[in-house]
């Protein structure tokens, strides 16, 4: 799904160690409008739990979280 959608902001979080991928998504969410999306690509497997937990606990929408060719790709929608 994340491959087809064009995000408002692309975040390259490859090489960052957890929890920094989650921290970066959190720091950047305010830079997209409400209803806007962030596509983030991380390489640390810990992000597969961290970023969804952050999205759900902050009331944002996790559209997708996928493992693609050894990378972790997230699409997050700002809801508030």
């Amino acid at each position: 799904m994340s491959e087809e959608m064009k995000a408002d902001l692309e975040l390259d979080l490859k090489g960052l160690l957890c929890p920094m991928p989650m921290v970066k998504v959190s720091q950047n969410i305010a830079s997209v409008a409400v209803g806007g999306t962030i596509r983030a690509v991380a390489t640390d497997p810990g992000s597969m739990a961290d970023i969804p937990a952050w999205a759900k606990s902050t009331g944002n929408e996790l559209i997708s979280a996928e493992k693609i060719d050894g990378e972790f790709v997230f699409m997050v929608k700002r809801l508030k």
């Binding site: 160690l17 957890c18 929890p19 497997p45 810990g46 597969m48 937990a53 902050t58």
Partner: protein, 430 residues
């Protein structure tokens, strides 16, 4: 501000009041010795970062509501209400503090400014002015444990990926990352990142110890946020796991504040004595090397290496020698920084500051003294057992062009171990 809210905020101070805090608030002689101890004040010369000034804001509320003189003649005694102005001033000087406690070390009365500022955080949170980012990260950690079934398989899948690398490095197809192992001797609590799991898994495998990996990460943003209830619940996640599994000890990864929370604060917060020991991973690795349970090549690292004492492990945690023993065991040119151990300068990355983007510029500036210390050693590698310190020193390395490599101690240990896997070519020189 509504009178009702003012009463609530004063109530928070009242709840936190004990003999120690009262003494800290009464005793300050305003000698300002602490100004030369704080890396943030020294680097910025900004009055708001002077330790005694930060505490003074709480002292002003204290004078107004907890002393007779301040109550009756507030202007004379600089007694103030916790109004919006005071809270705005308090916010910046409080959340900027890394909690390094270097000011306390040099204060002639040992006033613990960081403790006073933990009370300031409680007041800010009660006023709805806690740092939003740190609060969000704390909530995300709790969401994971409150909805554990939603995350369990994802977390374990991540561990399985890392397990493949453990098999490769050890050359043992049966090597594993045990999870939820009842009766294991050690519960190892890592960070969410693979970098803190892989080297420890290899070391435990080679040392042939009985261990199991916690489902939960050691990092505790509730502590940085300043909410003792959330901080305790975040630590409860692995403390309860340790009790359930019946382990003999909980071993915390290379993370400063997580070690201090687990070793020093958690028992006080929970009001219960742990039925197990709590140690830092470097205490354990030092023991393994000394006892010959793992081998490291003595000259594995030939480039000059220096060591940064993370405040929460060194000055505030009492671990000084074990990391140095480890580095000396594998590096032929170890160079200590000056000053070091109890007196070392904070790098500027603690207190959750690496997560607060609006403080990025200030944070890097506050690391000027650390950067100078590193340069003076001429080292090419800086090792430090704290994630926040490493992130900060990577920032200093980039912005001040120090030309160093920043490493965890476990990474150096892994490079120095004669393993049949990826590092085998080095081992052949053994």
């Amino acid at each position: 501000m509504e009178t009702q809210q003012m009463t609530t905020l004063v109530g928070v101070l009242d709840q936190k009041m004990n003999r120690q805090l009262k003494q800290y608030l009464d005793i300050c002689a305003r000698c300002a010795i602490c100004k030369d101890a704080c890396h943030q004040y020294v680097a910025t010369q900004d009055f708001k970062y002077l330790p005694a000034r930060r505490a003074e804001l709480i002292r002003q509320i204290y004078k107004k509501y907890f002393t007779k003189t301040g109550e009756f003649v507030p202007a004379l005694y600089e007694a103030r209400d916790p109004d919006e102005n005071l809270l705005d001033e308090l916010y910046e000087s409080t959340y900027a503090c890394t909690g390094c406690r270097r000011c306390m070390y040099y204060c002639p009365f040992s006033i613990d400014t960081a403790w006073i500022l933990s009370v300031a955080k409680a007041i800010l949170i009660a006023a709805g002015k806690g740092n939003e980012m740190l609060g969000q990260l704390a909530d995300a950690a709790l969401f994971k444990s409150d909805n554990f079934e939603m995350f369990k398989d994802i977390i374990v899948d991540g561990f399985k990926d890392i397990e493949q690398q453990v098999k490769g490095l050890t050359g043992d197809p049966d090597a594993e990352i045990p999870v939820d192992k009842q009766g294991a001797d050690i519960l190892y609590v890592a960070l969410a990142g693979a970098h803190s799991i892989l080297p420890a898994a290899v070391i435990f495998h080679e040392a042939k110890v009985s261990w199991t990996l916690s489902y939960f990460e050691a990092a505790n943003y509730g502590y940085f946020f300043g909410d003792a209830v959330k901080a305790r619940k975040i630590a409860d996640r692995f403390m309860d796991e340790a009790k359930r599994l019946g382990v003999k000890e909980v071993v915390i990864t290379e993370c400063g504040h997580a070690y201090r929370v687990a070793e020093i604060f958690h028992e006080a917060w929970s009001g219960e004595k742990h039925p197990f020991k709590v140690r830092h991973i470097l205490e354990v690795i030092d023991e393994y090397i000394t006892d010959g349970r793992i081998k490291v090549r003595p000259d594995a690292i030939k480039e000059p290496v220096t060591y940064h004492d993370p405040c929460q492990i060194g000055r505030n945690g009492g671990i000084f020698e074990q990391p140095r023993n480890i580095v000396r065991a594998l590096a032929s040119d170890f160079r200590d920084m000056t000053p070091n151990r109890e007196q070392q300068w904070c790098c500027g990355g603690g207190g959750g500051l690496v997560a607060i983007s609006e403080m990025d510029e200030f944070r890097i500036k506050s690391g000027t003294i650390k950067a100078e210390q590193i340069k003076a050693t001429g080292a090419r590698i800086i090792a430090s057992p704290c994630e926040n310190c490493r992130l900060q020193m990577e920032g200093l390395n980039d912005s001040m062009e120090l030309g160093i490599e920043v490493k965890a101690i476990m990474d150096l240990v892994l490079e120095a171990m004669p393993l049949p896997g990826s590092f085998a070519k080095d081992a052949s020189t053994d």
